[in-house]
């Protein structure tokens, strides 16, 4: 599980690169690149969370808050203070990192369910702040007029350009995360997930590693939030509610939390479910999500990534 082959990565990269061209030639899916932009944004958050859940064995039900922090810091700095969007993006990541440190450090010293509850409470508090601090955030109406991204006069002003920007960033983060997993840090994290006492006995500083992963995942969520804000040019609090945090959980659980591919597959599937395939259900999509989460937890504890293993097991019998 530690080794991640070069071949799948290459195939994945090629598919991502040619996808807009394919979509352009099939009218039924010619709007898919737009959805893929969101898939990429969610994939960034999911990769961080999968590291936290699958490798450090910790659960966060408040990542919508970090996603929101990125979006709002970007929006406030660019709209209210006229700063450069890239500065806003960096500032958002710094703020998210500091906040994650403050929230994560105390609760990660405790066992299992405490981080879950702390992040749940934290997520709701941040959501209330987005709604209440109208002077800064625009309250429930949100903020509009957030500028798009551009670099050296080259504007990412079309769906396709933004698609390549987002997926380029996803790719960099993907490679970086794989390197983390395959380094000593990754081995320490997996040791923590298998057995904390054993890891501790081997000299792994458990809570330090957990905090690092939590902060890293928060920064990725913030980066994703900034990308979201500069793409849509508009944000409001409802994007960053508790249900989004739960959707992130579903992405990880569905894809499989023990592999970074799980984050990619899960975030892609859930994005298409929510933007495209679940329209029929309207508001009752929540029942579908609940059913997916429960069924996966019971029948596919390793997520979709674990399916080939199960099939192999059957064939051998």
């Amino acid at each position: 599980m530690l080794r991640i082959g070069k071949l799948p990565i290459t195939i994945f990269a090629v598919l991502i690169i040619i996808f807009p061209w394919i979509a352009d030639h099939i009218s039924a899916i010619d709007h898919y690149p737009d959805i893929m932009v969101f898939a990429g944004i969610y994939c960034l958050i999911a990769m961080g969370l999968s590291l936290l859940m699958g490798y450090a064995g910790q659960i966060s039900i408040g990542h919508a808050a970090f996603y929101g922090i990125g979006a709002y810091v970007s929006a406030i700095l660019t709209v209210r203070y006229g700063l450069n969007p890239w500065t806003g993006m960096l500032a958002g990541m710094v703020v998210a990192a500091v906040v994650a440190l403050l929230v994560g450090a105390p609760s990660l010293k405790l066992k299992g369910h405490y981080l879950a509850m702390a992040t749940l409470a934290f997520g709701i508090i941040v959501y209330i702040i987005f709604n209440e601090e109208t002077e800064w955030t625009g309250g429930p109406d949100g903020m509009s007029g957030i500028p798009g991204l551009s670099i050296f006069g080259f504007g990412f002003d079309s769906v396709e350009k933004y698609y390549y920007l987002v997926w380029g960033i996803v790719f960099i983060v993907f490679i970086f995360t794989i390197n983390v997993i395959q380094s000593g840090t990754g081995r320490a994290l997996r040791a923590i997930h298998s057995s904390e006492p054993a890891a501790s006995a081997m000299g792994v500083d458990i809570s330090r590693f957990k905090v690092i992963v939590f902060v890293y995942s928060a920064m990725l969520a913030s980066l994703a939030g900034s990308l979201y804000a500069h793409y849509l040019n508009f944000i409001n609090p409802s994007t960053f509610d508790l249900f989004f945090s739960i959707k992130l959980l579903i992405m990880i659980a569905l894809g499989g939390m023990h592999s970074i591919w799980g984050a990619v597959i899960g975030s892609g599937l859930i994005t298409f479910l929510s933007y495209e395939w679940l329209h029929y259900f309207g508001e009752f999509e929540v029942i579908v999500y609940g059913a997916i989460l429960l069924l996966v937890t019971i029948f596919l504890p390793h997520g979709l990534v674990g399916v080939p293993g199960i099939v192999k097991g059957w064939l051998r019998r």
Binding site: H113, I128, E132
Partner: protein, 314 residues
């Protein structure tokens, strides 16, 4: 999750001249009433936690179901209170049993992570089902003994407040008799102390787990039934009730019953005074801030035992 409909019945407006003292008394009484609800939720958390070491994230859904099913029996079907009340508790208890049988027991390799995820999944499933059945509107329930407010030293008290506090007292007495005097109750306490040892002396641990979910659902139902005439009830109220109830349980010390009661009353009061004196927009945030502060500085809570929390798996 965050409710924006006015809680006008809790934070009374339109009163004429009110002195600061009567105002504060009003906040206190209101706080103790909501606090009683949080205490019931916290007791529900503790019952399941003690037997299974699971934090049941769907705990608030039992309260929501209690309120809405009561509306169905009492208002929609027109059953008298005395029949609708036990019928509601029975149905919600059944939901608790189903939660254990369908979401918890089928998990083959339970870990904190999977159990938390399973109860979250159950929670959104229950919420979605409630939205399917009742829609998104809040529902009212007639107060048990009318809505003529009683004036005490300038504070206005709804008669329903007494019902809420009264039922908390009944639950406390009933539970202490159950755990101290009955065989089943003692067996459950034994599971809480040491499940392996309990099963060695012939206690059916699985049945005790089932019972803990049933009991905890029943108590949640009582909370929902009694609070609905005061604050109305709608499908998405569960999460907030669960988090605040968990805050109460943590503040009191996870697993401690006196702690749950005290924690609930304190959290309710902080919320009521905070909303009245500091900011009503942040009403829902106060309890959560208390929850985080306790987690960070004294995770064992007021009555919690560090030694006991060490031997727990999760």
């Amino acid at each position: 999750m965050v409710n924006h409909h006015p809680h006008f019945l809790f934070y009374g407006s339109g009163m004429e001249k009110i002195t600061l003292a009567s105002q504060l008394l009003q906040y206190l009484i209101t706080g103790l009433t909501v606090g009683s609800i949080y205490a019931m939720v916290a007791v529900g958390f503790n019952i399941i936690y003690n037997v299974t070491e699971i934090i049941n994230f769907a705990q608030g859904e039992f309260v929501m179901l209690g309120g809405l099913i009561m509306v169905f029996f009492h208002v929609t079907l027109g059953l008298p209170l005395i029949l609708a009340f036990p019928a509601t508790i029975l149905l919600v208890t059944l939901a608790g049993v189903l939660l254990d049988r369908l979401a918890i027991r089928p998990i083959r390799q339970p870990s904190v992570l999977t159990l938390i995820i399973a109860t979250i999944a159950a929670s959104i499933l229950i919420k979605g089902a409630a939205m399917f059945i009742w829609g998104k509107d809040p529902y009212d329930l007639p107060a048990f003994s009318g809505r003529n407010p009683i004036n005490v030293l300038g504070a206005v008290i709804q008669p329903q407040y007494f019902w809420v506090i009264g039922f908390l007292i009944i639950i406390v007495i009933a539970l202490s008799i159950f755990f101290d005097r009955t065989i089943i109750g003692k067996a459950m306490s034994a599971c809480a102390d040491n499940a392996d040892a309990a099963s060695l002396v012939g206690i059916d641990v699985k049945r005790m787990i089932l019972l803990s979910f049933a009991l905890s659902a029943g108590i949640g139902a009582v909370a929902g039934i009694t609070v609905t005439p005061i604050s109305l009830m709608e499908y998405d109220r569960g999460v907030m009730l669960a988090v605040k109830g968990f805050g109460a349980a943590i503040l009191g010390g996870l697993g401690s019953f006196p702690g749950a009661i005290l924690g609930g009353l304190i959290i309710g009061s902080i919320e009521s005074f905070g909303a009245g004196l500091i900011s009503s927009g942040y009403k829902d945030a106060f309890a959560l801030i208390v929850l985080m502060v306790v987690l960070f500085f004294k995770p064992s809570g007021i009555f919690g035992d560090i030694e006991i929390s060490r031997i727990k798996r999760f």
